[in-house]
């Protein structure tokens, strides 16, 4: 008996050619195959930086002597600190940190130069928003050296006795909100936003394309329904699913990771609703753009990747270049992360939350408008 050859080149080649033809027909998939590596290169190559510098810093300066100024310029020269604001009270400092406007507040006490001159070691207080320990770690580590070397120039003449000594100034660092620098405290609440983004966009992204692929869309369109009815009707069940996820993560955060819950949980649940809705709107809009379920999944991925990398979930937001921060500011996840971390770790209330929330609402409104416009009431 003649043995069949294990591989027919002609048949194998026929499959190869067919795959290429099909690949060429599905432009979007092909675009994604090329586009995703490019996006990844851009994001990982340029946007991400594990050593954030030029962090916004406010100063509460009760003593405006030459020494205070030297100290500030020393911090500035370290490249880690960028002074953006002058504060007038402890209260303002508290607020600026809670809202996340600044990463650090440097407090120079009233009697700073007097004590310094007397060799009494005045205390400089540096408060850091340490919700994300990786954003502040290097800056805090650089503080001591920066301060010492910055003041050396002033230690001349009668002050020469202070020169060379490490301890002309007392440095006190308060790592606020996450004093032990436990990264889970930052990641677990953030994960809530990441999980919701992933699943909500994907699930609804499939919702309409599925109807189209299975042919049920034609039937649905022949019935007297309005686009808004269909879109909202498809969103609501998944809001429920989203809440199950939120619940699961909150329970895990509380009992497995012992994440502090400083703020109001009802407020968190309320803002989650808006965040879920924004992601569902995004998914629905994708599903009006995608031709089939595969494309919807690809679009989800295209949205998810920047959300994951540019929102401040994986890498410090302030470590990214300007352009990446601009993109990050558009993404709902960025704002939701600030809200969740703010509520749980900082104990933020409604007014701080609102600063971020309106941007999510705006995003949802714009995206849903596109979705309703794109949802085809007719088949052409």
């Amino acid at each position: 008996m003649k043995q069949r050859p294990p591989l027919s080149f002609a048949r194998f080649w026929a499959i190869v050619l067919k795959e290429f033809v099909q690949m060429r027909r599905d432009r979007l998939t092909f675009g994604m195959i090329i586009g995703i590596p490019v996006v990844q290169l851009m994001l990982f190559g340029y946007a991400i930086n594990g050593d954030p510098k030029h962090l916004p810093t406010a100063v509460l300066m009760a003593d405006s002597s030459q020494y205070s100024r030297s100290l500030l310029s020393a911090l500035k020269n370290s490249d880690y600190f960028r002074f953006v604001r002058r504060l007038n009270s402890e209260n303002e400092a508290e607020k600026a940190l809670a809202r996340g406007d600044v990463q650090f507040v440097v407090t120079i006490p009233v009697d700073f130069s007097r004590k310094l001159l007397r060799g009494e070691k005045p205390t400089i207080l540096v408060e850091a928003d340490a919700t994300d320990p990786s954003a502040t770690g290097n800056a805090i580590a650089s503080l001591r050296t920066a301060i010492n070397s910055g003041l050396q120039n002033d230690f001349k003449g009668p002050l020469a006795f202070l020169a060379g000594s490490d301890a002309a100034v007392n440095l006190r660092v308060h790592a606020r909100y996450n004093p032990e620098g436990i990264s889970q405290f930052n990641i677990v609440p953030g994960l809530m936003g990441v999980v919701l983004t992933m699943t909500m966009v994907m699930i609804t992204g499939l919702a309409i394309t599925r109807e189209r692929e299975r042919g049920t869309m034609e039937n649905l369109l022949s019935m007297p329904t309005r686009p808004l009815e269909v879109l909202l009707g498809k969103i609501l069940p998944y809001i429920f699913v989203g809440y199950i996820q939120v619940g699961l993560i909150l329970i895990a955060a509380r009992f497995l990771f012992h994440v502090p819950m400083a703020g109001s949980i009802p407020l968190l649940l309320l803002t989650s609703l808006i965040f879920i809705a924004a992601n569902l709107a995004m998914g629905i809009t994708f599903s009006t753009l995608a031709k089939n379920q595969l494309q919807a999944v690809q679009m989800t991925f295209f949205f998810f990747l920047p959300s994951l990398l540019l929102s401040g979930f994986m890498f410090p937001f302030r470590g990214m270049p300007e352009w990446a921060q601009v993109i990050g500011e558009i993404l709902p996840l960025t704002h939701f992360l600030r809200i969740v971390r703010g509520i749980l770790l900082k104990g933020n209330g409604f007014s701080e939350v609102m600063l971020q929330l309106w941007q999510i609402v705006l995003f949802a409104a714009i995206v849903l408008t596109i979705g309703v416009k794109r949802y085809r009431k007719t088949l052409d």
């Binding site: 299975r214 049920t216 034609e218 007297p224 007719t378």
Partner: protein, 308 residues
Amino acid sequence: MNGNIAIDVRGMTKRFGEHTVVNGIDLQMRSGEVCGFLGPNGSGKTTFIRMLCGLLAADAGEGTCLGFDVIRESEAIKRHIGYMTQRFSFYEDLSIVENLDFVARMYDVNNRRQAVQDSIERLGLAARQKQLAGELSGGWKQRLALAACLIHNPRLLLLDEPTAGVDPKARRDFWEQIHELAGQGLTFLITTHYMDEAERCDRLAYLSYGNLLTHGTAAEVIAGAGLTTWSVSGSELAELALQLRGIPGVNQAVAFGARLHVSGTSQHLLEQAIAPFRTEQHTWQQVNPGLEDVFIHLMGTSQDNYTL
């Protein structure tokens, strides 16, 4: 305004890019009529139906459907028509009763539960109502689709190849039901490729490459074609057909079961053409042309606009 007119449209046109898929079709139908919509695949039947129910926006055309403006009042039209798509388009992962209930809610049917139960019983689906639609055979799917189309008491039903892939018994039952409903005043527009179904329609419309070639009762359509047809029986008919085709006067030579139908538009030319072939070997007999002869003739004379 005549209350008995169900459809009255003129100049309905749809283009997809360069192609004119439906080219200025006029159609009038009275209430209670069953109109058969025929034509080869891709002739624009489905597109025309989709324009009638507002699924596609017409590029040109005007008129009324159930008294509503066919261009501007598609929302109102949708409430009063039932559209059964060519491909099964209910939810395969919902049961029969869930599908019907969904449709009933979509149309805001009064007494919804009752309406769903009635429709299940009327169609003999009671025993299967909990079964998922995806598990049903072709015939049962078709029954379900029809039940769903009827649940809101529409006045016009647009059925797009409702009996494709359905066995002969189910097809027969289906048509009986259609005539029963038509007797109650429901109007039907049905596309089909089956001649026996075409013969059961009150009126026929034949579309080819977007153009309405003929329109009328079966008798009118046949008469309008002006065909003369001879039926031949005997041996080696395929050979004979090959010889006949191409001879001036013979428009077509088509096998009908064990017989060959030879048709021409001019009786005189046809008789001249077939004279040399009327030998002992075959039995020749002039017959009245049937719908199929006419449709094959229509198909042969119209030009494919995709090849232009």
